[in-house]
């Protein structure tokens, strides 16, 4: 028998195996210190995605698409000291490596008419900041009279102002954000300073992720340790599962770093998942070794390993399939990478549990003596059996129909709830309600029309009246949307200049006039942000005020409708920006959920059908977990938990892990039914024996995932809660719904048989 030969080989090579595992762990462990975190949501769209390409192009052509801001709040911004501080912040930001452009009160283009002369310069001369009350008052009146500044760079009440910056395309966003925060905090300014925009949020998310890693992994470790200790009451039963899970985590993370991958918002969940899932395989192996009796400990061990390898492998393979469904089913790179490395991690855990665990046990003579084995109680005598499993199985056998009705009612209710599921990809929603980032975003939305950049790209002759007039028309149309308050383009500047030339605030009809006006704009700092050097392309810049996915979707639709009718050959219009990116992420999320779940269902049902050599059993096994997933979506709908970058994973993860419970019950039931030929007894026995293992597993895995609720990042909190819920659902389903299905199925068979007889 090949399995036996394999088992013998493992025992024979115990020392080389232990040494190799230790060496690999050291090697991968050394990689860990270089592992980086990537919190950039744009990176989750594939490189060739059209929305991502257009957005990146804006970054290349116009000096950065990534926008951050420093918010300065004071009693009155138009105060010499405050303006000095704004200038100081502006200077500080300007000199940070990776910064492309900076716009602030002390560094913003201004076009004005002074005594019949034209002045194209800065709103405030940074070297000569107004000092007298009169100067300051007139500056305030002037600034707030211009749409270019009011609500865009200064709040309408003059109590807060922005220093807006864009990042160079190749800049490390988190690094820049961190440097800016540090340098500005060091200035110790008296004004209230806060930081907003995507790069700042990314930096915050990164630190929160690090914090989570540091806190949650040890916490999960402790929780699982306690549960194992309580369930098994042995050091071996506690230490070995945790060790193999930890080693598989180290290997997986080390491999990630070695292959140049970074930890992202999704893969950060991996250690906790591996800890919860990975320890389960070792538990199976240990259980088997415990059960194997015989005087020759070595022979017993070999027999146990030979027996358990295939079942453990099969139980693992469904989980691997669940994660692998993301590699092929998900559109977002972040999720694909997560799927890839988590399946590798699970495979590592599997491998370790069948190779490393027996090697360690054999090397350190850890096989339990007969005596301790005899002390183990039968399931019926345990507290869990008396209080829970016995009444439970009686209920199932007596009233299978009630249970079916209860489940069906729950499913109907859940399907209703499913229609209320929202999606959310906005980074703001990653933060808890009281997090400073959320507070800052609120200020940005209330006072400054939001922090999300919107770009409308125009392709055509940027000096032609046609294109510039179309830009103005587009800007007017944009401002009619409830979430766009101010816009900026070269057309605005041309209008203002034309006004100063005394010909009204309009785009001149004569191209020659536009070319003349352009002469003064040439070389202005703001120009490269608005038009390309060859004057064949230009953009309208705006900011979007809402963080709501629905608002973004409405806006993108609203704009696309306009673009469709107004884009011409001479003036091609396209929309991009964060709302577009988020809308794309959103639709990808739903698509990812749908295709990865479908793929997971097919793979898992096929695997189970193959394992149980019966297609109908494959379907039966899937029913409890599929029901659980429907209930899960229903719950998300009712509880208002959005489908986001982390919660999108729950269904497939739950499917891969939850199906194991059904497999246990069905295998056990088939075995018993063949022997006893009595449905009720077989069911009762299955629940009594497998039930205990399932309950322990549900409790330890759910507890492990519930630890994620202590995360600082909202999607991860929800992910933990939902996976834990699904595990409970899958466990309960496999102990109630599945037996009921089996009972009804076999009773009908029995009836049919009786009838025939």
């Amino acid at each position: 028998m090949t399995m036996k030969r394999l088992a013998k080989l493992i025992i024979k090579l115990k020392w080389p195996i232990i040494i190799i595992v230790l060496a690999l762990t050291t090697f991968f462990g050394l990689q860990l210190k270089n592992l980086k975190i990537d919190a950039d949501v744009i990176n989750s769209l594939p490189d060739d995605d059209s929305t991502a390409v257009l957005y990146t192009n804006i970054g290349n052509k116009y000096g950065g698409n990534t926008m951050g801001m420093v918010i300065v709040q004071a009693k009155n911004v138009f105060n010499t000291k405050v303006l000095e501080d704004v200038r100081q912040i502006t200077d500080t930001v300007t000199f940070v490596k990776g910064i492309s452009t900076v716009t602030s009160l002390t560094d913003v283009i201004d076009i004005k008419n002074v005594d019949g002369g034209i002045e194209i310069g800065k709103l405030i001369d940074e070297y000569d900041i107004p000092k007298t009350e009169q100067q300051l008052d007139s500056l305030k009146a002037y600034t707030l009279s211009k749409d270019m500044y009011k609500g865009s760079i200064v709040s309408a009440d003059g109590t807060s102002t922005l220093v807006i910056f864009t990042l160079l395309d190749n800049a490390n966003k988190e690094e820049v954000a961190k440097t800016i925060k540090e340098k500005i905090t060091k200035l110790k300014l008296p004004e209230k300073i806060s930081f907003g925009g995507i790069p700042m949020m990314m930096d915050d998310v990164s630190s929160l992720m690090l914090l989570d890693l540091r806190n949650l992994i040890p916490l999960t470790f402790i929780v699982i340790l306690l549960i194992l200790l309580i369930s098994f009451r042995s050091a071996r039963g506690t230490i070995l599962p945790l060790t193999t899970a930890s080693i598989s985590i180290v290997w997986t993370l080390g491999l990630m770093q070695l292959l140049g991958y970074k930890l992202n918002l999704v893969s950060i969940n991996m250690p906790v998942i591996l800890l919860a899932v990975g320890s389960a395989y070792t538990i199976h192996v240990l259980n088997r070794i415990n059960e194997e009796k015989g005087k020759n400990r070595k022979k017993a061990l070999i027999k146990a390993v030979a027996y358990i390898t295939i079942p453990v492998f099969l139980s693992g393979i469904t989980t691997v399939f669940g994660f692998m469904s993301f590699i092929f089913g998900a559109y977002l790179t972040m999720i694909r990478n997560f799927g890839l490395f988590t399946s590798i991690g699970v495979a590592f855990a599997l491998l370790l549990s069948v190779v490393f665990v027996p090697a360690v046990i054999s090397a350190f003579s850890m096989v339990k003596s007969q005596k301790s084995l005899q002390q183990q109680k039968k399931s019926e005598d345990t507290l869990m059996g008396k209080l829970f499993l016995i009444p439970f199985s009686n209920l199932i056998i007596k009233h299978p129909k009630y249970i079916t009705v209860a489940w069906v009612a729950l499913i109907v209710l859940s399907i209703w709830g499913m229609f209320n599921i929202k999606t959310s990809v906005n980074m703001t929603n990653y933060f808890r309600k009281n997090n400073p980032v959320r507070v800052t975003e609120d200020i940005m939305q209330k006072e400054f029309g939001g922090s999300l950049p919107v770009f409308v790209v125009f392709k055509g002759d940027m000096q032609s009246p046609e294109v510039l007039k179309k830009m103005i028309q587009t800007e007017d149309y944009m401002k009619k949307s409830p979430d766009v308050s101010s816009t900026q383009s070269v057309a605005d500047l041309i209008e203002q200049m034309n006004d100063v030339m005394g010909e009204g605030k309009i785009i001149p009809n004569d191209k020659a006039k536009i070319e003349n006006l352009w002469f003064l704009l040439d070389g202005q700092d703001v120009m490269p942000q608005l038009v390309t050097n060859d004057l064949r392309e230009g953009i309208i810049q705006a900011r979007f005020a809402s963080a709501d996915s629905k608002d973004m979707e409405d806006f993108v639709k609203y704009m696309n409708k306009y673009i469709k009718t107004n884009s011409t050959k001479n003036c091609q219009i396209e929309l991009t920006g964060m709302p577009s990116v988020y809308v794309k992420l959103n639709s990808s999320l739903i698509r990812s959920q749908f295709s990865s779940l479908t793929l997971a269902i097919i793979l898992v049902v096929l695997a189970v059908a193959l394992l149980l050599r019966s297609f109908s059993k494959g379907i039966y096994a899937a029913i409890p977990i599929l029901t659980t997933i429907i209930i899960l979506f229903g719950f998300m709908g009712f509880a208002g938990i959005a489908l986001d970058i982390a919660t999108v994973l729950v269904a497939s993860v739950a499917l891969g892990m939850g199906i194991d419970y059904s497999i246990h019950i069905i295998t056990h039931f088939s075995h018993e039914f063949d022997e006893l030929k009595d449905v009720n007894l077989a069911i009762k026995d299955s629940i009594m024996v497998s039930g205990k293992a399932i309950i322990i597993n549900v409790v330890s895995v759910s507890a492990g995932f519930l630890v994620l609720m202590f995360s600082h990042i909202v999607p991860i909190q929800n992910f933990g809660l939902l996976v834990a819920m699904s595990m409970v659902g899958a466990g309960v389903g496999s102990l109630t719904l599945l037996p009921v299905i089996l009972i009804l199925h076999y009773r009908r068979k029995e009836n049919v048989n009786k009838y025939i007889n």
């Binding site: 034209i118 800065k122 003064l520 070389g523």
Partner: protein, 244 residues
Amino acid sequence: MKTVKLSVLVSALFLLFGLNANAQDANTILKKMDDVMYSAKDMTAKVEIVLIDKSGKEKTREALISQKGTKERIFRFTAPASQAGIAVLSLPKDVMYLYMPAFGKERRISSSVKSQGFAGTDFTYDDMESKPYTEKYTPKLLPAEKDVYVLELKPLSPRSQYSKLILKVNKSEFYPTYMEYYDKGNHKLKESTYHFVRIGKYWNAQEIEMKNLKKNHITKMIMSDVKYDQGLTDNDFTVRKLKE
């Protein structure tokens, strides 16, 4: 041994002293440079302005320039067609006028734009100004290089956009060969190189290349048809003349 050491020391001291004696005082060097650059009474020339962006793409403009002393100047663009006829008149006391032919109107340009780029070039209005360096900066002598004196210039006005300039001046003819511009954060912002040729009795900056290191953008100003001392008067530098 001791005596040998002493003699080395003594000769080294003499060498240093001798060098110092020959060295030019920083102020004198800068003054001499101003004289070389601004000694002509007037000048007319054709200027070709080449703008090179970070991807290496070139754009060319052409202008006619006429200048009297250091205070009066007209820049009249002739190419490309879209800018032909646009003219800038600079008068004493930072007074500047811009003429736009498509509007048939001139407008005074405010003086607060001096740190802004001139017509899309890497030269600011400040850089374009012909004000003598001795009136704008205090020089400090740095160790000289092979053919050039090296000066560090600190602006006299606190409103300057630069924190300092590093200037290299030809040792024998006192024209500038190279300049570095540092911003207020003391980062090197721009650098310019000069190619001077002798035309009649004056040295002419035939080619100036200004490179903006932050924007990675280059401007070349190439002068041709240079004529000196043709007897231009203040009447050649009026708003009426600008419109012609």
